[in-house]
């Protein structure tokens, strides 16, 4: 066993890259669920974002435009979900699952011409002064814009939910749509906007996979990342800070176990391999266990269909 071959600085940098796609998708889903909607189509929106972002980045040579296109693509796909669940009042679970299947198929179709194409590389942004700091600088302040954006979004979403009027309205809609409706809030409109936000974030997460983390387009390349994001929202008990923790923990342990294997650490591989799932679930469960059910924070109207007549 030779642990010295693992460079902790390189490791942390890789962890941040590995965690970003699930963090983005989970943050988006957090907002969707806070508004009382359960969208199981995260995987489908991620993969659609992955190909939209990839295609536009390749065509324009500009990864930033690609990321933007991924957000638009994810949001457009989520509109399909919004139309069925908010206008036609279809079952959210079934529609979400269908959205995932649809997204996987659609992305495969869109991606026909992009197999084996190299995307333009996404530039890293050095934050002046901070990136020159010893040790911390190269690890924390030399990433691409999406990593910074994802962390910024954690803070923004946390503050928005906790302090802002928009956050309050969103939570009201998610807790009791009837009460919110009685107060004059446009429940359906608010939910559609939340769904689109979720789609855009998932799309961006997908594009981060195809443009930065892998970087190439492969059919079905999200390979379950969307489901991990969904699980993280639940285990994070619908809190932005814990979503960050969950995503980084999951990404961190995944990367760490691969590095430990490569270093030849004498631990059974099975345990290493299941550790990301176990440790993430365990930590989040323990954190949310102390206050009983109420503190779990599941929006009361989650997954329930709203119609103004009821």
């Amino acid at each position: 066993m030779d642990l010295s071959s693992i460079n902790p600085l390189v490791l942390i940098t890789t962890v941040m890259i590995a965690a970003t796609p699930i963090l983005l998708a989970a943050l988006g889903e957090l907002i969707v669920e806070k508004s009382g909607v359960l969208n199981l189509g995260v995987e489908g929106m991620m993969i659609t974002g992955a190909i939209c972002g990839f295609a536009i980045a390749v065509e324009t040579g500009n990864p930033a435009l690609g990321m933007l296109a991924a957000m638009v693509g994810g949001a457009l796909l989520s509109l399909v979900f919004a139309f069925f669940t908010q206008i036609l009042l279809a079952n959210q679970v079934a529609t979400g699952l269908a959205l995932t299947l649809f997204g996987l198929g659609l992305s495969s179709l869109l991606g026909q011409g992009y197999v084996g194409v190299k995307p333009p590389s996404t530039p890293k942004i050095d934050i002046p002064l901070l990136s020159d700091l010893p040790v911390v600088g190269p690890v924390l302040f030399q990433h691409d814009m999406v990593v910074y954006f994802s962390i910024l979004m954690v803070v923004v979403i946390w503050a928005m939910l906790k302090f802002s009027r928009i956050g309050l309205v969103l939570r009201a809609v998610g807790e009791s749509h009837d009460a919110a409706h009685a107060l004059g809030f446009k429940v359906v409109r608010i939910r559609i906007m939340a769904i689109m936000f979720g789609g855009a974030m998932a799309g961006l997460g997908g594009a981060y996979l195809s443009l930065v983390r892998v970087p190439q387009w492969v059919d079905g390349m999200t390979a379950g990342a969307g489901w991990i994001a969904l699980a993280i929202v639940v285990f994070a008990s619908w809190r932005a800070g814990r979503v960050l923790l969950g995503a980084y923990l999951f990404g961190g342990v995944t990367i760490l176990q691969l590095n430990l294997q490569a270093a030849g650490v004498n631990l059974p591989v099975e345990y290493l391999s299941m550790s990301p799932y176990l440790i993430t679930i365990l930590v989040l469960v323990i954190m949310s266990a102390k206050g009983g059910r109420a503190s779990l924070g599941a929006p009361a109207a989650l997954g329930r269909i709203f119609h103004a007549s009821s």
Partner: protein, 355 residues
């Protein structure tokens, strides 16, 4: 009278609809990944398309991609059999038990299971001697590495994968005694992000030659990005690593699929166990990269030739097991039974095989 007429018309229409299907053979394919994976499933799908090209209207093929190994596969297989498939190809090791289970329920449907070892009257098995290809890329790897560290992204601890690791290691070691093999198990056949992470982890630890036994092209793209040497798996991956890919082991299933579907058509199909390699072309190689040194290419070509004509077997003694006990004495070669169930590393590889 009117009713009779309608019934007659319906019967005629039914007959007309059903007529083509009598002469048409239906072949179903079950894939573990998407057909666009650029590797394993991509090659199986090329085999399916070759069957269509060969038999034209006489055959109808269907496929289901990204089918998880396990219980879900049984559902897909049953559905295919119910839909009237005459022969079903199940193209991953994990479909072994589902294939056997469904085959019991449909004795008139022929099943072909890739890389497994369980057969029945209506279940054949087929596989390629990938380890012959691994011997060749192991040799190239041993010659090309400067850090003497070869990285290996392994999927599941099944004999086929372990054989590949052993074969690659033995032949790398033969040309470069200082070589060290770093194996990372990812427990998936297809997860581009995880495969890319594994490749990065290996490269971060000094690996400069990368091999993979997973199906996506992600490791190849990472190798290209980091400027190291790698080998394509199952299919030519040079589009993803024009500089990185030295060569690729290509699984050419087309001739086998055409042969077996042909046998189903003319009624000569019987349950067989096929295990072909370089000699029949089931294991082939992508064109060597122009940046591979000429002497290395010559050595690799000589090895391909000697394995192809049967004069050299990749598992030839003296070889010891990892624990130092003797496996094959000088000049002794491994029999197919031992190879098919291989569950141990050879001497010199560090680390344990997961259970």
């Amino acid at each position: 009278m009117k009713i009779l007429n309608t019934a007659l018309a319906a019967a005629l229409a039914l007959g007309a609809l059903a007529a083509p299907s009598f002469s048409q053979t239906k072949a179903g394919f079950v894939y573990v990944g998407p057909i666009g994976d650029g590797g394993w499933t991509h090659e199986h799908n090329k085999g399916r398309l070759a069957v269509e090209a060969e038999f034209g209207d006489k055959v109808e093929t269907t496929f289901v991609e990204s089918v998880p190994e396990g219980a879900d596969a049984e559902r897909v297989l049953t559905q295919m059999a119910l839909a009237g498939a005459d022969v079903i190809f199940t193209t991953s090791f994990g479909y072994m038990d589902p294939t056997i289970n469904v085959a019991k329920k449909f004795p008139n449907v022929k099943f072909e299971h890739a890389t497994g070892y369980k057969r029945a009257d209506n279940v054949s098995t087929y596989s390629a001697r990938f380890y012959e290809g691994r011997a060749v890329i192991g040799t190239i790897a041993g010659r090309m590495t400067k850090t003497n560290k070869i990285g290996y992204i392994a999927s599941f601890p099944i004999p086929e994968v372990i054989r590949g690791i052993n074969s690659a290691y033995i032949h790398a070691k033969k040309v470069n005694p200082d070589v060290e093999m770093k194996v990372v198990w990812v427990f998936t056949w297809f997860d581009p992000a995880k495969e890319a992470d594994a490749a990065k982890a290996l490269i971060d630890q000094g690996v400069d030659v990368l091999m993979q036994h997973t199906d996506s092209t992600a490791p190849m793209a990472i190798a290209e990005e980091k400027g190291i040497v790698a080998f394509g798996q199952a299919s030519d991956m040079s589009a993803f690593g024009p500089t990185a890919q030295m060569t690729a082991i290509i699984d050419d299933w087309a001739p086998y699929y055409i042969q077996q579907v042909g046998r189903v058509m003319d009624g000569t199909w019987t349950s067989v166990d096929t295990w072909d390699g370089i000699s029949t072309g089931m294991v082939a190689f992508a064109p060597f990269n122009a940046n591979m040194p000429a002497d290395v290419a010559a050595e690799a070509n000589a090895l391909i030739a000697s394995i192809g004509d049967g004069s050299y077997k990749p598992f030839t003694g003296p070889l010891n097991k990892q624990d130092g006990s003797v496996w094959l004495a000088e000049g002794e070669t491994a029999d197919d039974g031992t190879l098919a169930g291989m569950g141990f590393y050879v001497e010199g590889i560090t680390g344990d095989i997961p259970n």
